[in-house]
C-alpha cells in the first residue's frame, strides 16, 4: 500500500501545478494552429509538442527535465544553447533559396535593410523597460522575424531567455497573416498597392554561382560574428547553384534542415517549463516582440515609400513588409494583399527578393549586436 501511495505521489497528476496546466494549454493551442489552421505547421507542431513534453511534471533529480544534467532532452538541447541547430537550419535555408529575383533587382535589398530598423528601435525599448543590454539585444532580434537567428543570438547573449524569445519569435512568424496586413494597409494608399512591378530580367547561372561567394565575403568581413549563420547560409546556396553538388544540396534542403528543425522545435518547446517560463520577463518579451515585429514591417513599407520619391520606376510599397526575414510567410502575405486589390498583380517573386535580403540583414544584425556586447 505504501509503495502504491509512493508511486501515486510521484505521478504527474499529483505533481502538476497551475503553471504546467497553462503551458500545456499553450502547447495545445500551437498544435491546433499548426494542424487545423496550418499556420507554419513545420515550426508550430514540433514546438507545440515540445511544450507538452516539457510540461509533464516530474520529480527533480532523476535526470528527466531539459535543465537537468544527463537527461536525454538536455543533450538534445545542446544544439540550441551552442547555436548549432540555427547554423544547420541556415545551411538548409541557403540550399533552398533562389536569389535570382534579388540579383535581377538589387535595389530591393534596401527594403531588407530598412525592415531591420525594428531591431534597433526595440533594443532601445527593451533597455528602457529595464532589461540588461545582453537581454535587450536578444529581445530586439525578434524584430528580424527570424527564429533561428533569434535563438542563435539569445544562446550567445542571454541563454536563460531562449524559451520565451524563441516562442515569441515563432509565434509572431506564425501570426504574420494577422499582424502584417493591417499595418500594410494602414501605411499605404490603394493607388500605391496597385503599383505593378515589371517582369524581372533573366539572371545568368554565372551570376547565381558567384553571388554566394561575394555575399559571404562582403557580409562576414563586415560582421565576422555572423559567420556561423551567413557562412553556412551562403555555403548551402553555393551547393545549390554550382551545379556539381546536387546531391549535397538536396540533402541540405531536405534531410538536414528537417532534422535540425525537428530537434530545434522540440527542445525549444520543452524548454518552456512552466516554472521557468511563466515570469514577468516573458510577458515583457512578448510585448516587445510584437512591437519589434510591427516596427520592422512598418519601417520597410515607409522606406519603400521614401524610395519612391527618388525612383523613376516606382516600386510597390507593400514589398517593404517582406523585408523582414520570415521566409516565405511575409512574401506570401505581400503577394496576397497585392492581389486582393488587383488579382493580376504578381508581387511574389519581388517580395521573395526582399525576404531573402531580410534573412541576410537580420543575420548581420545578430553579428553586429553580438560584437557590441563583447566585454559587457
Amino acid at each position: 500500500m505504501e509503495l502504491l501511495f509512493q508511486f501515486l505521489s510521484n505521478t504527474g497528476y499529483y505533481l502538476a501545478d497551475y503553471r504546467n496546466v497553462i503551458m500545456i494549454m499553450v502547447g495545445s493551442l500551437f498544435l491546433y494552429l499548426g494542424t487545423a489552421k496550418r499556420y507554419e505547421p513545420l515550426l508550430l507542431i514540433p514546438i507545440g509538442f515540445g511544450i507538452l513534453v516539457g510540461n509533464v511534471p516530474f520529480f527533480k533529480g532523476f535526470g528527466l527535465g531539459i535543465y537537468e544534467n544527463n537527461s536525454v532532452l538536455h543533450y538534445l538541447y545542446f544544439g540550441v544553447v551552442t547555436g548549432l541547430y540555427p547554423s544547420i537550419v541556415f545551411l538548409g535555408l541557403g540550399a533552398m533559396t533562389d536569389f535570382s529575383s534579388l540579383l535581377a533587382r538589387p535595389v530591393l535589398m534596401l527594403l531588407g535593410a530598412a525592415a531591420q530598423m525594428g531591431i534597433f528601435f526595440t533594443l532601445l525599448g527593451a533597455l528602457a523597460f529595464g532589461f540588461l543590454p545582453k537581454e535587450a539585444a536578444s529581445i530586439a532580434i525578434i524584430g528580424g522575424a527570424d527564429g533561428p537567428t533569434s535563438i542563435f543570438l539569445t544562446a550567445k547573449l542571454a541563454p536563460h531567455l531562449i524559451g520565451p524569445i524563441a516562442i515569441a519569435a515563432y509565434s509572431y512568424m506564425a501570426l504574420i497573416p494577422v499582424i502584417q496586413p493591417p499595418i500594410m494597409r494602414l501605411l499605404t494608399t490603394r493607388e500605391e498597392r496597385l503599383i505593378r512591378m515589371p517582369e524581372l530580367r533573366q539572371v545568368s547561372k554565372k551570376e547565381r554561382v558567384i553571388f554566394p561567394a561575394v555575399g559571404v565575403l562582403l557580409c562576414c568581413f563586415l560582421a565576422p560574428a555572423s559567420i556561423p549563420l551567413l557562412g553556412t547560409f551562403f555555403f548551402g546556396n553555393f551547393l545549390k547553384e554550382c551545379g556539381v553538388t546536387d546531391r549535397l544540396a538536396q540533402t541540405a534542403r531536405t534531410a538536414i534542415i528537417d532534422t535540425a528543425t525537428i530537434l530545434l522545435g522540440l527542445t525549444v518547446g520543452a524548454s518552456t517549463q512552466g516554472d521557468v517560463f511563466l515570469t514577468g520577463k516573458s510577458v515583457g518579451i512578448f510585448l516587445l516582440g510584437a512591437v519589434a515585429f510591427s516596427i520592422a514591417t512598418g519601417s520597410g513599407v515607409i522606406f519603400a515609400k521614401i524610395m519612391n520619391l527618388f525612383l523613376k520606376e516606382k516600386i510597390n510599397p507593400l514589398l517593404g513588409a517582406a523585408g523582414v526575414s520570415a521566409v516565405p510567410g511575409s512574401a506570401r502575405e505581400v503577394h496576397l494583399v497585392g492581389q486582393s486589390e488587383d488579382p493580376e498583380n504578381y508581387l511574389l517573386m519581388h517580395a521573395m527578393a526582399c525576404n531573402s535580403s531580410g534573412v541576410i540583414g537580420s543575420a548581420i544584425c545578430a553579428g553586429v549586436l553580438w560584437s557590441f556586447m563583447v566585454g559587457l
Binding site: K205, C219, L222
Partner: protein, 151 residues
C-alpha cells in the same frame, strides 16, 4: 534603471545608431556589387569570345543561354495551348516533380513569364500541389473541354 536614463547609461543610442548604419551600409554595398555583377561578367565574356574567335571560322558556339527548342512567337495566351507546350517538359520530369525544377527548366528554355504562367496553371488546377513543393500535372482532358463547351 528604466526609461531614457537606462538607454543612456547602457550606451543604447550609440549602439542603435551604429548598428543600423552598419547593417544598412553592408546591404547597400552588397546591392551595389551585385547590381554591377552582370555587367562585369558580360565584359569578361565578350573579351573571351574576342580572344577565342578564329577569323577564318566566323561561326560562334551557341552560348549556354541559347533556347533548347523553338517557342512560338507570340507565345500563346490560351491555357490549353500553354499546357500543350508544357507537356513535353512535364513528361521529362516525371509524374510528380518539384516546382522549382520545372521553373528552372522554363527559365533555361526562355519560356516567357514563367511565374505568371505557373500561377495561372495552379489556379486552373492543372498544377496540383502535393505538399513540400512537390506538384503533379493534371492537364485538362478532351472530355473536360467538351463539358466546358456544353456547360
Amino acid at each position: 534603471m528604466y526609461g531614457l536614463k537606462a538607454i543612456t547609461a547602457h550606451n543604447g543610442w550609440a549602439m542603435a545608431l551604429a548598428g543600423a548604419l552598419i547593417v544598412f551600409s553592408g546591404l547597400v554595398l552588397l546591392s551595389l556589387v551585385i547590381s554591377q555583377l552582370h555587367k562585369v561578367l558580360m565584359f569578361f565574356e565578350k573579351k573571351s569570345v574576342d580572344v577565342q574567335q578564329d577569323p577564318e571560322i566566323p561561326d560562334v558556339e551557341p552560348s549556354e543561354d541559347t533556347p533548347g527548342f523553338l517557342l512560338p512567337k507570340p507565345f500563346p495566351a490560351d491555357i490549353n495551348e500553354i499546357v500543350r507546350l508544357y507537356n513535353p517538359l512535364i513528361e521529362a520530369l516525371g509524374e510528380s516533380f518539384y516546382l522549382s525544377e520545372l521553373y528552372e527548366i522554363l527559365r533555361k528554355n526562355d519560356f516567357p513569364h514563367p511565374h505568371i504562367t505557373l500561377t495561372a496553371l495552379r489556379e486552373s488546377k492543372i498544377l496540383i500541389p502535393d505538399g513540400d513543393g512537390v506538384f503533379t500535372w493534371n492537364p485538362p482532358t478532351e472530355n473536360d473541354d467538351n463539358e466546358k463547351n456544353e456547360g
